[in-house]
Amino acid sequence: MLSFIIKRALEAIPTMLVLTFVSFMLMYLAPGSPFLTEKGMPPEVLANINAKYNLDKPLLEQYIIYLGNLLQGDFGPSFRYLDFSINDLLWPGLVVSATIGMWALLFAVISGIAMGMMAALNRNKTTDYSIMTIAMLGIVLPTFVMAPLLVLLFSIKLRWLPAGGWNDGAAQYLVLPVIAVTTHLVAQIARITRGSLIEVLNSNFIRTAQAKGLPFRYIIFKHAFKPMMLPVVSYLGPVFVGVLTGSVVIDVYFGTGGIGQHFVNGAINRDYSMVMGVTVLLGVMYIFFNAVTDIVYAFIDPKIRY
């Protein structure tokens, strides 16, 4: 186990190096710069700013300076929010996005697995089709349609829930964003569960168990559940990272202040250090969650041992 973790950590180093280098170059090569304004600044003012943010140095040197600071845990100053360092901005944004993401994932996993199992056990019957149709509505309705619809119904017409804001994660502010993200995830999880359970039910060890005359319910939860979960678990690791970045629609529409908006606005405003910060954070999280997924996998699947 320990050697597995060390191996993963060592593998992460070249990944992060390539990741930071490519993103850095891509970002800096994009047209425009963080301090480009419509009126244009007098050259001496621009020179002062460039000097302050090291933008006057050669690109490679800037990258090395950035890497050096990064190793000390310093993501650098924001080019867009001058009163903040990226460290100040990333963590609160991450907390917001992770809170929404975690609740959404929790509800999606519970309801997705339940729906998927029900569909699989009633395969090709009306129950199956209607469950999968409802689940799929969540996938096919884009979030930017779902969010305004939810607001129209629950905030403007019914006046039950606030139309936006975060207020430190107060429950009523969480509901609509979480619903909007959950509906998007449920369908995927339900589909994967359905497919997986069907496959497991057709496998020899289940047939053996059935032949032995064990009760069906017992077979499902004692024998089939764990192997059924394998593909679901491997789906969840990367998807969590995806939920964080994909939340930009939620952030823009509900004004939650999550990391997705930071990321997209950072790219569009050429806030170099913000984009780099989010990229590094997501990269690390991707590696981390993949490792966690593998470990969880090992617990479920007796065939894998580290």
Binding site: G32, E44, K52, L82, F84, I156, G255, I268
Partner: protein, 539 residues
Amino acid sequence: MKKTKLLQSMLLASAVAASSLSAPLMAADVPAGTKLADVQEFVRDNGAEPGSLDPQKIEGVPGANIARDLFEGLLNQSRDGKEQPGVATSWSANADNTVYTFNLRKDAKWSNGDTVTAHDFVYAWQRAVDPALASPYSWYMEIPMIVNASKIVGGEAEPSSLGVRAVDDFTFEVTLEGPVPFFVKMVTHTTMFPVHKATVEAHGDKWTQPENIVTNGAYTLAEWKINERMELTRNTNYWNDAKTVINKVTHLPIEAASASLARYRADELDFGNFPTEQIKQLRKEMGDEIYITPKLCTYYYILNTQVAPYGDARVRKALSYAIDRDIITEHITATGQLPAYGLTPEIIANFDPQAPAYASMSQADRVAEATKLMAEAGYSDSNPLNINLLYNTSEGHKKIAIAISQMWKKDLPVETSLENQEWKTYLSSRNEGNFTVARAGWCGDYNEASTFLDLMTSTGMNDGKWINAEYDELMAASKTMSDPSANYNRAEEILAEEMPIIPIYQYTGVNLIKPRVGGYAYDNPEGNVYSRDVYIKAE
């Protein structure tokens, strides 16, 4: 993004000599008999997250809106845009208008209880030009020609050599290199607001964080969650706190107009915005909550005269004439905008722009003239002109570009391809002359025609690189004239003859304000509003 441009204007002072005001002080001016609500909280959509709350670093409307609540400069603006006593109660100038003396009130306090002194202003103003701070607005200090400002920004002199001085704790003196008549108007702007030296020095870039900040305005910062909300609470040390009604101001950085409208309708905002296509519906639903006011801004297209065939004035004029501006203002922008035929908006102070000849032609005549000009320039249906029209990503710009491209296509031998680029790429294309026709807009930096007309001089923000010696001379000469109207009119005439830019419409500001809000200065010409003037009526 679109709001980063600064609107704060400096109305050209007509009378600049010694003045001392006896006008009523601005504060929440609640009419007698108004029943106030128990909860005095004001929630407004501020359009975007400000880049900074440091007065010397602020660039753009969202930051300025908040800074006016947090800080108070030497002077404030009244509802109709006139200057009013702020920290200074009176001021005077010497005979040749180069030395200004401001007398500060003795009861002005910082939120930590310290007295606001002339030294705070000296520190703030020196800071604004200090290369070490690298303020994106340091150029603002160069405009009124404060002694040594340009040299300091350029790194040739020490910040301490700036022409500002605290004669004593309550007397602040500014020395200019030349008589700039509108200087007094400029001090209502955030760049010239004071900052608390000890706080700034103790916390560096982080002094504006809620736990550190010390302010001298009616409010102080309680909470700042980027992209979510900013909460301001009452500064009980503010000298005019007794006249302030609102206890808590919340600024929300809502970028999407549709989200703003949703939250306004869910009753979460007192002051909001909406997508313009909803105007007809909203007029029916909440007509008395819509406020439309003219803005000091012009929307236009730039033609790149360095690229063929846009060096040909006939082509430029034809393209301009074929645009039916009434359709655009009535059906597309549809919120009270006026068609523009010249660069300077009609509401500009101290100048009454003459409409150019083509403004009074009928659209049919203009199209006929345009057709003729295009034919003369050698274009026909078998040899059409292919235009690439550049605009920055925005629903509004997109709609106008589509309509104009179709107007050209309908009446002229022109095929247009549209190119939409996001803000920074668009700016870089414009700066580098990488366009043929590009959307542009300009809001006055101050309420005087030169802020518009100077754009088209050979040294102005003239991305189309149009050069006209007579125009340059007219504008240079106007600087020292007591009434430059004749020069301005001639300059506009040249623009109409040469058409280096195609004026399209004059902006309006459009907002939703709840009926319960009182005292909101929606008619301030530059949109400068102080939350301390506002009060919430009982419903």
